[in-house]
Symmetry: C2
């Protein structure tokens, strides 16, 4: 089903070897069923793990029929994996013994009580754990975790007793043990338990990180889809880099919490992850081809669908229903989602459906929607599904049928499954909940047809599959080695940000198209500059201490003629002197008046997780009230820039509403790309604010430009406070 990998096949990832461990020792094995050290051992012994299992406990002779060793040093055969289930205070000691052995590849530290306590001595103990392990080449998972599960070898280090194995092609990574457990239970509680290949919850991530696991799963031939629960990442750029690569061959579906400010606050108190701006994460996920879903149910529904149908050829879906109400619910969800569209059934298909279905049936009203009505029996279900799947204009089908009245549900299921097998198109069946449907749903899922509880959940899962199939991931270029610029050096030396004329010069030097500008240091200079520019000009005070120039009377627009320019110069100097007496005035920037146009904002900030990120939005209240903005991680190419424009509702305005000409979206995209490159090139720049940018039918103009430098950031914040 998959396209061939875009890169040369890699050597098998060493982390995968750890999942394939042939022998495991549980250090801290316990005879008390209330302890993790008992539950882990029990799982390893009773759930079919094929490798060798050792129990380490100096105070017990045997547990669950296994003789106990006093120490791992007593184990005479080769040992691949260690599970440490000891109080934190004893964990380092166990790791030291492991290091002595020399054969151990991985250690899962289940124990809590390390860095998550934020107590310095336990933070240090965790560091020591890693130091000891690294010295012996041991990779550490945890501490404070459930560890790993490999369904294929039936290896599980989890102490959660409710979990079951079901082999399949999903790779799970969860940043929360409880949520990870919940996901596995939801996945097990399907008509056919949803199979998976590997699961990992690695807690504090003192050594092995979620990102490494994504990479490992990416190279794992037993995994078709990677499913993540995430609260945040430390190194956003690395996530982007790895995910961009992995999603070229394997879908990644992700549920990330902390979407709202309060949710982010709760996240901080949970894993201590600096949640960062959720909007930046959102942009980064899109950029790297990760499919983000918005609930646990959607995560499991999508994982199920994608593990059964890894790819949809396109976004054209046909809704085939036996019941109007359910069908409409599905159409509503499809219309709302943004990626799916109703398929246009061809004339031949429509004629075939009309001849197959009862006279009351609704065929293609609207097109792509077919209501078979309650008079449709098994034959009608199967034949209309076949007719639709044969239509080359259909990429996928959502089929809803009734809680059974006179329809033999199992017979319908058998018929449908046979038709689905003839094609390679995703077909999602919604038989609703309830015991009467259970057998039919089980049959369908056992025969490769996913079923869903409600039509809207089916449509939502299909949207996720379609996104995963269609979205192209754009690898970010690695940041080129940082260069510098004399203008930046000068400002840094003076511990200030770039003055606006300097900022414009820097843009111009970096290939931005900038209209004429002149930095006038005297009144006469301003008059001369305006004469050269010609036509009405805008004059703006230049001062390192003034951020909000208009607020202090530092801006004059539409100034014409030498006398007016001289007067404006004097007024600006007087106004600013009065409103911001502490500001030293360097002069006045003289630029031509720009024509009217739609105003945009383009900004750059350095995100703690993702580094330089670029923001795009319509100016003013659109950003503040409508939050109609998009983010991407810099640097990026034109395609990403166009995506980030199109994602906002502002894009519709740029297309030209109310009879206005379409704006030059290409020019805006080019500007975004250039800003993203600038941000990557100069590490000293901490913020860029092009606000407003005016866009026209042809071209775009930067009207105001602010560049904040890293060292000067705090000084400028103080200045901003003063000038307001």
């Amino acid at each position: 089903m998959y396209e061939p990998p875009a890169m040369a096949p890699q050597a098998v990832n060493p982390l995968l070897d750890i999942f394939d461990a042939k022998s495991v020792a549980v250090v801290g094995a316990s005879a008390d069923p209330g302890k993790a050290g008992y539950q882990v051992l029990k799982t390893l012994l009773t759930m079919g793990y094929e490798g060798q299992v050792f129990a380490v406990n100096p105070r017990e002779r045997e547990i669950l029929g296994v003789a106990c060793c006093a120490s791992i040093l007593d184990i005479q055969t080769r040992l691949d994996l260690l599970v440490i289930s000891l109080p934190a205070i004893h964990a380092v000691g166990a790791m030291k013994q492991a290091a002595q052995r020399g054969d151990i590849q991985g250690a899962i530290v289940l124990s809590a009580g390390f860095s998550e306590t934020a107590v310095p001595e336990w933070v240090e103990a965790e560091r020591e754990l890693v130091r000891v392990a690294k010295s012996a080449g041991i990779r550490v998972f945890g501490p404070n975790c459930l560890g790993i599960i490999n369904c294929n070898s039936r290896l599980s280090t989890s102490f959660a007793p409710g979990l079951t194995f079901a082999q399949g092609r999903i790779g799970y990574i969860s940043q929360s043990g409880a949520t990870g457990g919940a996901i596995l239970m939801m996945a097990a509680d399907q008509p056919k338990p949803l199979g998976y290949s590997k699961f990992a919850h690695i807690g504090n991530m003192c050594d092995v990180s979620n990102l490494e696991l994504i990479e490992a799963y990416g190279s794992d031939p037993s995994i078709d889809v990677i499913v993540l629960y995430m609260e945040g990442v430390r190194d956003g750029r690395k996530l982007l880099e790895i995910a961009s690569r992995v999603t070229r061959t394997k879908p990644i579906v992700l549920f990330k919490v902390g979407r709202t400010d309060l949710g982010a606050a709760a996240t901080l108190s949970h894993t201590g992850t600096l949640a960062g701006s959720d909007a930046v994460y959102d942009g980064a996920f899109k950029q790297s081809g990760i499919v983000r879903v918005s609930s646990l149910e959607e995560l499991v529904d999508s994982a199920k669908l994608i593990s059964m149908f890894p790819k949809a050829a396109g976004n054209r879906v046909c809704v085939l229903t036996e019941a109007g109400g359910l069908g409409i619910t599905c159409v509503d969800q499809i219309s709302r989602d943004g990626i799916l569209q109703l398929a246009s059934l061809g004339r031949v298909t429509q004629e075939r459906l009309t001849s197959i279905l009862p006279a009351m049936a609704v065929v293609a009203k609207p097109n792509g929607y077919v209501d078979m009505t309650a008079a449709a029996l098994t034959r009608e279900h199967c034949e209309s599904l076949r007719a639709i799947l044969e239509d080359p204009g259909v990429d996928s089908v959502v089929l809803m049928t009734l809680p059974p009245t006179f329809l033999p549900a199992l017979e319908v299921a058998k018929g449908l499954a046979a038709v689905v097998k003839e094609f390679k198109k995703p077909v999602l069946v919604c038989l609703m909940k309830g015991e009467p449907m259970a057998e039919a749903r089980r049959y369908l899922e056992e025969n490769g047809v996913p079923t869903f509880d409600t039509p809207d959940r089916a449509a939502t899962a299909l949207a996720a599959l379609t996104r995963a199939s269609l979205v192209k991931s754009a690898a970010i270029s690695t940041v080129t080695s940082s260069v510098s610029d004399p203008v930046i050096q000068k400002a840094l030396a003076a511990r200030r940000n770039l003055l606006e004329p300097e900022a414009m010069q820097l843009l111009q030097d970096n290939g931005f198209s900038i209209s004429a500008f002149h930095f006038a240091r005297t009144k006469e200079d301003a008059i001369r500059a305006a004469a050269v520019i010609g036509g009405p000009v805008v004059m703006k005070v230049v001062s390192a201490q003034v951020i909000h120039k208009s607020d202090v009377g530092g801006v004059k627009v539409n100034v014409v003629g030498a006398q007016a320019i001289g007067k404006a110069y004097d007024e600006i100097v007087a106004n600013v002197g009065k409103a911001a007496p502490e500001a030293s005035i360097d002069g006045v920037l003289v630029v031509p008046c720009a024509a009217a146009g739609t105003e945009l904002i383009i900004g750059m900030v350095r995100d703690p997780q993702f580094g330089p990120v670029i923001m795009f939005g319509l100016g003013g209240i659109f950003v503040e009230v409508f939050k109609d903005i998009s983010f991407r991680v810099a640097p990026f190419d034109r395609e990403v820039a166009l995506d980030m424009i199109n994602e906002t509702r502002a894009a519709r305005i740029l297309e030209g509403v109310r009879g206005q000409a379409a704006a030059d979206v290409g020019a805006v995209a080019q500007l975004l790309v250039k800003v993203s490159e600038l941000a990557a090139r100069y590490e000293e720049i901490s913020e860029i604010d092009l606000n407003p940018v005016r866009v026209y039918a042809q071209g775009a103009a930067i009207l105001d430009c602010r560049i904040i430098l890293k060292q000067a950031a705090s000084a400028s914040a103080a200045a901003a406070g003063q000038s307001q």
Copy 2:
């Protein structure tokens, strides 16, 4: 729990008597299990119905052990209810016999093939059915329906075999049989099957309507919450009138499909309901206190919660979790919903929680969020829940706990249920899915504590309960007997719409505050008028044929001085004469220039279902691109007007963003109320368009006003086409 009804107790609704029928005859009883006439009879005989059951079939001796009558006229004892399960062609005959008897109160016509076919002869047959029934005082349910279920008497006319009875306090009304069946199955498929009192699916609604059922359920003491699946209504005003009354004492929760344009198109082909604008429905639901939900699962979740806890005292919710990931998911959903907010736990509560919970616990970070951590045992769960419920700042609690690790789930459930019983506050428990939790969830629900599959679904259900508890329904005044106005009469006689000066006059006569305006029929007149007004004026062409005045050069702004006014007058006449030669020019409207301000749109249209509806939004692209508009049914009071303003994101702009002064929201509300009253007063007005209205720190001004009359509507549309 409920507040006492605001009205005097009514006589029992006669429709409820039909649900309480003591004897039922199935006309068209069948021996074939594949027929509805068999399934209905079987349900009546085997599911515990306490009344008498008769089978009518002239060709059978007995079915399912019941002797068959050849005709209902052969039944010698009193007969309350008839179920007609005959081909459409025989239904009228059966109804005629029913009419002859004189004792039958209600007839459920299951048969399909009537007006839904849109075939004239069957549409007529349905009418005949009603005529016959009416003549004998028989109320008809259907045709083309599942009919009714009364769980208390175990009466069911449904032929869907999977349905079960579970007594409870929900009243269901579904506009789709399949969806209604699906809802019942989803309700049955809960840890404790969700009980209900009555269910109705009444198909074509040839006689009894959904609205009458809402009214009947409203007066039914066995029903606490009314749960609806809706595709559309014929008489929106009646819905509003009935629902406004019912929701004062009983919550109505509703799932309506056809939210999107394509969904609405599919709705049209399903029940033939003119879907109308979903945004108008949305406004009407809010106005009448109906709680709208957005999926079937949300409908069932909300129904469960509200039937267990009919009321929340407020919107302050505490999230209590044993697992961070689940807790954050819940907080995210609470923050997004708009009605709920995290409770502020008092200092004492926080101290108690800190002393109860393990040291690792996160107490009130953010406030209202408590993470007990995985170290919390049964005692910690129960005591912290009690501490939180005792806090007067908490109205409700969502509690999440883990898939069991070492926690005995049933013991926790018992402890929690005991604590919940001590208080009257809603507590929602989320134990996630999966077999290991099933017993604990069952115990909780059997002891009055609702459980939910995921944290976000719990939060969403709580939002619905909170809306139902807090929202006040605003009864619409019935439209006063329509008056007319000489200006309207004159325009109607001329088959045209109101000229702008006439429209302004009408507004002024109806108590709107309008700035000075003058309808100048000559140049000299315009000059005189401007002098009287003083200051710069706006001049606009007055012509019944010109709608888009600016497009034809018919508007001049900021005109000052006699000479300029004379010139502007001539130019307007010349421009319009050239651009719209067919237009007859009546003169020029002269008004003072209005100060700059935030521009709004206030509109009125007559909706096919709801009659006059008022639209509010910010001007221009906010309406077109951001769809940031709200609707209410006219007439309404100030409180509704404020609601409709606050519902838009524009409200945040009116509050004053970016340092601007707050706008006079009271003046906008007053204007909305006045427009709503005007629309109700003059039935001849089909559309009002005040666009723009400018709002200031004090007051608001109508800058442009268009009033379209009913008779002239088509003529004006033609004119609009020409002038563009």
